[in-house]
Amino acid sequence: MRHRLKNIAQGSLTPVAGNGLLDRRTFLRSGAAVAATLGGYGAAGNAAAEVFAHDAWSLMPGAITRPYEQPSRFEEKVVRTLTNPKGETRVQNARTPLHLLNGTITPAGQHFVVAQSGAPDIDPAKHRIAIHGLVKQPLVFTLDALARYPMVTRTTFIECGGNSAPLFSPTPMQANLQALHGLVSCAEWTGVLLSTLLEETGIDPRAKWLIAEGADAPTLTRSVPLKKALDDTMIALYQNGERLMPANGYPARLLLPGWEGNMSIKWLRRLKLTDAPGMTFPETKTYTQLLPNGKAYQFYFVQEVKSFITQPSPDLKMSGPGLYEISGLAFSGDGRITRVMVSADGGKSWAQAALQEPVLDKSFTRFRLPWRWNGGPAILQSRAWDDKGNVQPTRAEFVAQRGELKAPLSLAAFPNQHFNAITSWGIDANGEIKHVYA
């Protein structure tokens, strides 16, 4: 045992890739021993001894516990950013502060939102979900009825098709992770599989699609292939153990794991089985992606394999040379993440990151890699692979196929869709972190 520890400690002193990237197993296996060898995190030093006084909060009773807990007042800045906080008449976007969170589950109140016309104030006692069209018996379900059906729980991410759209810009837009990639979140969802309900309605053999409709002001509709509906599509009722947040679809939403967020219709009230897609407004205009030749991809469906580094990232200043843990998120709408590679020299060399177990299908996967920053310039990147053989493209590969805009995009808008290439963070000698293209 001692022998092995020593070997790992020695190995950890040797970077496994350029610019100070260390072996991903360095801390997992040997922990404190290696940290001691390397001098540990930060600059604790040997300052003069201090006698710790009792802090004020240790000298009085604490606050009364509230019925529904809120984060500490010191965390008040860890919130979503809003595109129209005054209720301006346009689509509302709330972006998740991914650079200030950790782990893989997004708290319900921090889950991203794109709402075409606000969240409806739905009385669950009056809400109904109708399934009709090419079925043998059209049926309507109340929430009380759904509560008696067999439920399933699964963790999955939801990503807006327009997430990361600023990266279509010709120059790297200077914004933080929240602004660039904040339209993706991951939660544990509980509800009834749609296939369970379709067993009761029966399916006409001519049915190939269903049109899902929300109960919000525009009664937004999207067409979903029946194949997906019978695979892993769920009517979600709970988010991280509690009822859905209003803006995430209370009291019931469709959930299509791994697919474009807009298709997971919120405030679900109607499912109509059809032999053709409805060619609805969102699926013929907004969520179509223009290509370099002026044609457009339609029915993109899948949120393809993507990753980005959450820490360090812009707005999080480095605090001096030394040891850091690079941490980030990887996910694929096609399956499980199998590998994440990290570079600290702009893609010249790569080291494999550790993946936090459990690694779940179509879910956020947290990756980590120890890094000794020498205080000089560095460009951090991450690249992910999934179990279907998909690999996250470099930005150059992506742009060669999908094109690039001539002018920067507004950060609030996402006329361009499905950007999943590598993101680069440039770190300068002052420890400032910027979005760069590399």
Partner: protein, 174 residues
């Protein structure tokens, strides 16, 4: 011959059948009549279009009252999306996707106006008003003549300019 795997599959099928028979069965039968107001879906082949009709001239009056605040006079210059095409889209930098240069089906226009517009009072327009607004916007985009009368039959004849401008990204998923 039964292999262990095939026995397992048979057992699974039997179980599934039993579960179906014993399922909660708490859905209530619902008729097409009961869903008349909810089921406003208009399909690209024109099915779902209601009776009624409207002209571009009628649509211009409704537009001036109910649409200009967000979409601007004659479909441009408002805070909401432009509705009038400025020319074909020929690249990723092709400018704004509008009805005339992008939307592949006229049915979408009718369907979306009827369910979602005007923004502050969705579903408040009559079917005649929706036909009239559809006619007005299609005329502004030079898809139909200014004097056109739109109804279910006329709608089915319209072929949008960008009808063939789309590529299925993942045809195998359909």
């Amino acid at each position: 011959m039964f292999t262990p795997k095939s026995i397992a599959i048979v057992a699974l099928l039997v179980c599934t059948g039993a579960a179906q028979a014993d399922g909660p069965r708490l859905g209530k039968a619902v008729s097409a009549e009961e869903l008349t107001l909810w089921d406003s879906s208009v399909m690209p082949d024109g099915s779902g279009l209601p009776t009624g009709s409207g002209t571009a001239a009628q649509g211009a009056q409704i537009y001036a009252q109910k649409c200009t605040a967000c979409h601007g006079e004659k479909g441009v210059g408002g805070s909401a999306s432009a509705l009038i095409t400025r020319g074909p889209i020929t690249s990723i930098n092709g400018g704004e996707k509008t009805i005339g240069n992008f939307w592949p089906y006229a049915s979408t226009l009718f369907d979306y106006i009827r369910r979602a517009m005007p923004w502050q009072q969705p579903k408040s327009l009559s079917n005649d008003e929706v036909y009239a607004l559809t006619a007005y916007l299609l005329a502004l985009n030079k898809v139909v003549d200014e004097g056109a009368v739109l109804n279910a039959t006329a709608m089915k004849q319209i072929k949008m300019p960008n009808r063939d401008g789309f590529i299925l990204r993942f045809p195998d998923r359909i």
